[in-house]
Every structure is written in C-alpha cells, then in structure tokens.
C-alpha cells in the first residue's frame, strides 16, 4: 500500500457493478472513472436509479465493485476485504444519509459520540457536545431521534459525520427528506462545516441548487458517467 501527498483523495478506475436479480444480471455501473482531490467538493447528480448511491457506496468502500479499482486516501480499496475497508473508514470517513440513519435507542449526544467511541477517542463526550452546539442542538443533547424534527435529525447526523474530523465526507441526498427551506439550511451548514474543517466531499443529490455549492459536478445516466463539469 502506498500513499503519496499528490495522490487524489478518492479515485475510481473503470469501475463497474453488476448485481443478480430475478430478471437476470443487471449492470448498475458501467466503466466509471473518477478522481477527487483532497479538499475538493464534488456532486454526483442523476435521475433515480442512475446508480448514484451505488457509486457513492463503492467510493466509500461500503461495497466492492465487480470490475475496476477504487482508491481511498491513496489505498486501494479493491484489494481489501470488508474488515480491511472498515478499518480504513474508521476515523477517516464521515457519512450523511438521506434517511439520517440515527440510532433510535441513542440520544443525540450518544449518536454523535459513536464514531469516536469506536476508535477509542478519549474526549468523545466533549467533542460531541461542542459540535452539537455548533450545529444548534446544544439544548437537545439528551433527546432521542424520535423527539427531534427532520431538520434537527439531519443536523445531528451532520454533527456525527464531522465529529471525528474525517478527511473525507460522503453525503447521500442529505436534503432528500426535508422541505425546501430546511433543506437549504442543512446544505448551508454542511458546506460551512466542510470548508471549516477542509474535508473532501462527495455528495450525491438530485437537487441542482445544492450541487451548485460544489466545486465540480458529475452526472450519471443509466450507470455511465455522462459528463464532468
């Protein structure tokens, strides 16, 4: 495994993904190549079913491609097994999801502490409290997800994503479940934190307004990269 400072933060080389469905083999991604440099913010856009989330999953190492190679922080993901990829993600990668993915049995504070606890970060509580205050949930620390509004839940998820100062953030339709006004506020918060902490961002969205905030935009159409902007 080699790592150089000039290497892109994320790189996909001729990546494809096939799945077997009852109707036969389905090609979800076809020969996709992509580079994201450190500190860059890139938006992946496309219609429903175009393979955006699948590409995000492959770039983050949540899944393995059926063809091609993926590098994250200079390390080739495709040579690692699932546990190896998990170790690579730990503390290095943050996520924000459309459906928030907060653990219902944990309070806001505990949800944010979780990734830090997993890597044995000693000051998890302080760091989590700080960032929750930063996202405006200082008075909601001990609330459970079902006691928070949609916008608040996504704020909490953003706090969780940034809490451990990850190098890389993957966001999957972060405003998809929110109304326009709330969505705009959330996007603002996301990009503010992203630039504050100089995180590399890969964002999947179908909201053109949000994608405008990114440095670059790529479009997927039926599993193929359409154009790079």
């Amino acid at each position: 495994m080699s790592q150089t400072s000039t290497a892109p933060m994320v790189e996909a080389q001729r990546v494809s993904k096939k799945v077997t469905s009852p109707e036969g083999e389905l090609l979800i991604l076809d020969d996709v190549s992509l580079k994201v440099d450190a500190g860059d913010a890139i938006a992946i856009v496309g219609a429903s079913g175009s393979g955006k989330s699948t590409l995000l999953g492959l770039l983050a190492g949540l899944d393995a491609p059926t063809g091609g190679r993926v590098f994250l922080d200079g390390i080739e993901l495709t040579t690692l097994d699932e546990d190896g990829r998990a170790r690579l993600r730990a503390g290095r990668v943050g996520f924000v999801f459309q459906s928030f993915q907060l653990l219902q049995s944990l309070t806001a504070l505990e949800n944010v502490m979780l990734p830090m606890e997993l890597i044995g970060e000693g000051s998890a509580r302080t760091a989590a409290t700080d960032i929750l205050q930063r996202v405006g949930l200082g008075k909601r620390l001990h609330h459970y997800p079902n006691q928070l509004s949609g916008g608040e839940q996504q704020r909490c998820a953003i706090a969780r994503a940034f809490a451990s100062y990850p190098k890389m953030l993957f966001a999957d339709e972060p405003t998809g479940n929110l109304d326009q006004t709330t969505g705009a506020r959330i996007a603002e918060l996301l990009f503010a934190l992203n630039s504050e902490r100089a995180t590399t961002l890969v964002l999947v969205t179908h909201d053109r307004a949000i994608s405008e905030h990114c440095h670059r935009l790529v479009e997927l159409e039926a599993g193929r990269l359409n154009r790079a902007a």
Binding site: G57, L62, A86, L103, S105, E117, G120
Partner: protein, 830 residues
Amino acid sequence: MINTLIFSLRSLRRDWRSGELRILAIAVVIAVASMTAVGFFTDRARQAMGQQAGELLAADLVLTSSNPIGSDRIAYARASTLQTAQTLNFRSVVIADDKMQLVEVKAVSAAYPLRGSLRVASKPFASDGVTSLTPGRGEVWVNPDLLQKLRVHVDDIINLGEAEFLVRKVLTYEPDRGGELFNIAPRVMMNIEDVPATRLLQPGSRARHRLLVAGTDDRVQAYRTWLTSRLNPDERLVTLEDGRPALRAALERAQRFLGLASLVSVFLAGVAMAMAARRYTQRHLDTSAIMRCLGASQRTIIKIFTWEMFWIGLAASLIGCLIGYVAQTGLAWILAGLVATELPLPSLRPALVGLPLGLAVLMGFALPPLLALKDVPPTRVLHRQATTPVPRNLATYALAFFTMTGLMLWHARDVQLLAYVLGGAVGTVVVLGMTAYLLVKLLNGLRGRVGVAWRFGFANISRRAHVSAAQIVAFGLGIMVLLLLSLVRGDLLEGWRKTLPPEAPNHFLINIQPDQAQALRDFFVAHDTAAPGIYPMVRARLVAINGKRVEPKDFDDLRAQRFAQREFNLSWAAQLRADNRVVSGRWWSANEHGQRLMSFEQELAATLRIKLGDVLTFDIAGSKLDTAVTNLRTVDWDTFNVNFFTILPPGVLNDYPATYVTSVYLSREGRRILTPMLEQFPNVTVIDVDALLGKVRQIMERVSLAVEYVFIFTLLAGLAVLYAAMQATQDERRYEMAVLRTLGAHRGQLLRGLVAEFVTLGLLAGALAGVAASIIGYALAEFVFHFGYRLNLWVWLAGTACGAVGIGIAGTLGTRSVLRQPPAKTLREV
C-alpha cells in the same frame, strides 16, 4: 480491547434503557434460579451428611450383625483400649391402656453414643438439651410423637413385651438416626439390660445387634484389620466412609431428578432467550450497518455484542443465584419431614456453578442469532433492502442442543439415563410441536365462521404459525407436568388401590414362635376372624452360587448388591400358593419332600443372575446348606399375602431355628382383638400396613410437591417464552392496531381480538397438555404398573381451563400497551 469493553458496557446501558434486553435477562434469571435452587438444597443435604459422618455412626467403627455380637470381639476391642458400646435394634409394639403402636426399639448400653450426643426434653415440645446419660433400668425415653399417638405423658407406664417401663424423658435427637430417610415408626430407647425381661427376642427374631467402637485412628484401624479377616457371613463392618449408602444414593437420585426437572425450565428459558435474541438482532441491523460504515470490523461487532451478552448474563445469573438461594428454603421446607436432620446453611458452591451455567445457556441460545449481526452489509445504510442476514437457525439449534445435552449429562451423570430423558424430551417436544402446528393450521379454517374479534385473534395465531406452535408447546409442557404431578398421580394411586382385593391383609404378624403358631390360629378362630395361613421362615444368607462366593461387588445393580448382603427368609411349602405361578421348571411332588430343592422368585433370580439348576449355598446360623433351583416362580405381591422369594420343600429346614409369619385383614373394629392377642403373645410384632402405606403416601406427596415446586420455574419460563413471542410481534401488532383504528375499530374491539388470540392459544396448550398427560398416565398404568387406567375428564377440563384463563390474562396484559399509542404516532414511526 478496553475500548470494546467500555463500548459494550455503554451499549448495554442504552439497550437496557430501551427495554430490549429485559426478557433476555429475565430468562437467564429463571434458568439460573431453577438450577441453583436445586443446587443449594442438595448442597445443604450433602453438607449435613459430611458434618455428621462420625455422628451418623455414633462411633468410629461399627460391627453389625443379626446375631448377638461374639464376646471375643468385645474383649479384643477393650484389650486394644478402644471405647465400646452396644446397641440392639428391633421393631415391636408398645401398649398403653387399650392403645398400641409399632415402634423401633433401640436398647443401648451405658457408654452409648461414643460420638455425638443424645438430646432430651422433659416433656414434648419443651426446649431440649444434651445429655451424657442413657435410659436407666426400668425406664424408656421416647420420641414425642409416640406420646401423642398413645395419649400418654412423661412418668406414665407403658408395656413392651412382658415388661413395664416408666416413660422418663422425651428423646429429641440421637446421632445415628439423623440420616434415616424414612423413619416409619417412633423410637423407644431402653437399657440393653432390660431386653431379656421383655421376652421379645426369641431365637430367629429379627433384630440388629451393633458393637460401637471408638478410639485413636491407628487403634481403630488395627482393630478393623483384625476383625476383617474374622467376619462371619452375618456380620458387617460399617466405617465412616460407608456413611449411609442408602441416604447417599437417595440424595444423589433426588439431585439427579430435581436437576433434570430444573432443566426443563432451563430449556424453555433458552427458547425465550433465542426468541429475544432474534428480535434484538432484527432491531440492531441498522446499528450494525452504521457501525460497519463508521469503521467497525466484524470482529469488533462480535466482540461488542458478545461482551454485552456477557455482562447481561453475569448480572442476571447473579440475581438468579440470589433467587435460587431464597427458593431453596421452600424446597428444604417441603422436604423437611423426610430428612430428620437440621440442615446447615448452603455453601457458595452452587452459585459458583450457577454463574458459568447461566452464561453458557445464554451464549448457547442467544449468541447464534446475534452472530448474524456481523454479516450486515454496510450498504444497508444506502439501500434498506440490501441483503439482510437471517439468523442461522441450524447453528442456533446445534449450539443450544449441545449446551443442553452437556448440562443434562452433567446432571444425570449416566449416559443411559441421559439417552432416555433426551429421547423422551425430544419425542415429547416433537409430537407436541407437530400437533400444535397442525391445530394452528386447522384454526385458520375456522376464521370464516366467527365474529370479527375472534377472526382477528385466529388470524394472528395462524399467520405466526411457528411462533404460535412454540408458545403452545412451551405452555403445554408446563401444564402437562403439573397435571401429571397433581391429578394423574392421584388417579394412578387410586387405580392401584382399586386393584387390591377389598379385604387384602392389612396387618403383618412377625416373630411368631413355632409353638405359638397353632395357638395363634386358634386365637383368631375364637375371635371370629378367618384363620390366616401361618408360614415358617428361617433366616439365611446366600453365600455362594454354584460354589462361587457371592460378593456385593460382583453386581452392578444396586438391588443385587443389597440382596447379596442381606439375609433371606427361607420358607417351606408342600403346595404352590394361588398367588404364585411357576414359569419355568416344576413344583415338587410329595415324594420329593425332604430333598434340598429350591423355588426362586423369577425377578430376583434375574437380578442375582440365578438360573434353573444352579446350586445355591446358604449360611444358616453358621452351618451351610446347598439347594438346587428346580423352579422359578412369579408372585402377585399386590395381594398383600405373606410371600417369599425362596421356598424349599417341607422337611429340609426342620432342624434350624424358625419363626412364623402371617398376614390378616382386620377392620377398624376388628383391630380391637390385637390388644388381647399381644397380651397372650407378647413377643409377636404387629406391623400395620395401613399406617405404612399412609407413611409411603405422605413421602410420595412430599416428593411430588418438591418436583411441582421445581416446575413452577417451568411455568415462569413458559411465561418468558410468551413475553418473548409477544415482544417479537410488538412492532407488527402496533402497526396493525394503528391501521385498524384508522379504519374505525374501537378499543373494545381490538382488546377482544387480543383476548381471543391468547385465550385460544391457552385453550390449545391446555387441551394438548390434558391429552398428553392422560396418554402418559395411561401408558404408566398399562405398561409400568400393569393395571387399568380410567381416563379422567377432569384432567382435560382442568388443563384447558388453566391454559385459557392463565395465558388469556397474561397475554392480554402483556400486549395491552399496543392499544395505548395514538395511531398517528405509530404510523409516522413505521
């Protein structure tokens, strides 16, 4: 490592708060409590035995014999500067005014007991104290219950044989009686010098003579060595190591069976654990996926959940041990009358065993479903439908099966017994399970014919057919065992009693001297009682079979070992009696009288491996007698007539000391003739069979109460299964209720649906339990006890009613909360 530990503890705290681990913890508590309750109780009993090893003998070494102890043995002991004492035990009848009572007489010399002390009181139930004295000449010390039974007081006079005695003290404790499991008759202790005056002991009378010896270890050992080479066939040495083999065996058996009974609860609790763990797994799929996303490895996930299980198992096992400790006092209280000893406090050992066992059961049942969590794909966070691992059924069952088999083997300590129990248990569960499943399916067909509430209830049962069948089996087992122990046991006893002839003999008369036989027969005729058959018997010890010396160690079978040690009663008869049947060989003819032939009871012959044609050598009061087995016979013991294992032709035993024995039926009024009879024949001992049967019945009742007590844990474990099942379906139910309410169903209708569901489940479980209990009762009567069994409708009714009411209430209460939540909230959450 530290991280995982801390993380697992935090995770435990959160999961506990959300209530998901409660049923798991409760199931562990029940399993451990049921195992340790039995463990603590048997530990107390074992400690009591250990502490009293010396006291149990009242000496360091005891020589016991059916004949008076030879003076050379006493002289040698004294010459070896050992302390000695003598006791003589026999059964007799005490008379006071017109009342009489069978008693166990113990005549003692002044030095008795050499180890431990007697305790006496001045009157019944007064506080007692240690005494170093023994009964003086002309006085007796007696157990308090004898005074009650005879309605006499301290300082009254009672008759024993031909002598009168002053009741001087109430005997509350004697060291070498403490471990006797079944004390049938009260004790009368007297001075050994007074025995001849009673004229109770005649040649051939049943009595046990003991020489007690105590001293320093080396002297006792030397004496033991000297004596061992000189032992007569009727003599036996009892050492501290021997303790009380009968008590030890009884205790071991009790431990085994109570232990196995407790395993039924462990098994059901395990089922509850597995169900709860499955739900826990389902609810933690997202947690796992997110943790995987955030970089947790599969190992970390396994470690976190295993540690979490470990903590919950540890805490719940500790609580289980505490509850087991409290519960054993109940068990000790139920069995108090059977072990005539104060039990010491239990040690911590059962808890030390209970803790790892609780953990093992939890891991065995709960870990396999939990292991599925490590296989959750992290992409689940992006696509909910991403392949979700299903808890591995096969692995679950295999690990649980091995855990249970290991536990059972540990309790049963006998592979054959284990095979029977395991086979029986698996068979019962499979049959019950299949029947339950079938019933659940049949229920589906009834949906169209009932109202909306019942239809909803039926639909719920049929849709979750597997879970419903598991619940029916869990409750069916619990109810079945309780029915067997309560109603069916009573039916079996009643059925057996009905097979006895109405006027079956209820009194045995033993120790009749040869010259009294005719007089006794005349006495009965004179008192309008049918003259009973009076049979001779000569006490003898079986010393060799076909010239090979008989040693208890040659037999594996406990009963065979006992018979190889104890004395036989040889009788003689010219004719084969009506309740006997020759099954091989032939009965002797008149011209064979006087020949050394033998008729042997078939079952005992098989136990001792004796065959037709074998030559048996008996030792009768020091002289040897060879006899050839010419026939094997079955005996109908249920007639309660006097019967013998060994019978010879007339004319062989004429020269040996014989006593006679008979049995008679005496009605309540007819018993009055016993007083004049005993006045005329004071040496005759009367054994009241009714009283013996009463005592046996009492013992059976106590023992089955103890087993029932252990099975309370089974019902609790059944409830845990019910709650685990309810919890597993909680989300689904909440959703259904919300939908039904939005469609306009009111609370009452929904509640009726729940009641219908659980009442039906209980009804099915109870009915199945009733049928199963009846079948087992029938099989026991037909194939084990060999008498007709009448089906008792009560068993079915009681089972069905208990099931319907009990489970109906428990189930409705447990799920009622789903009605409380506003439907809008539920639908928003789902």
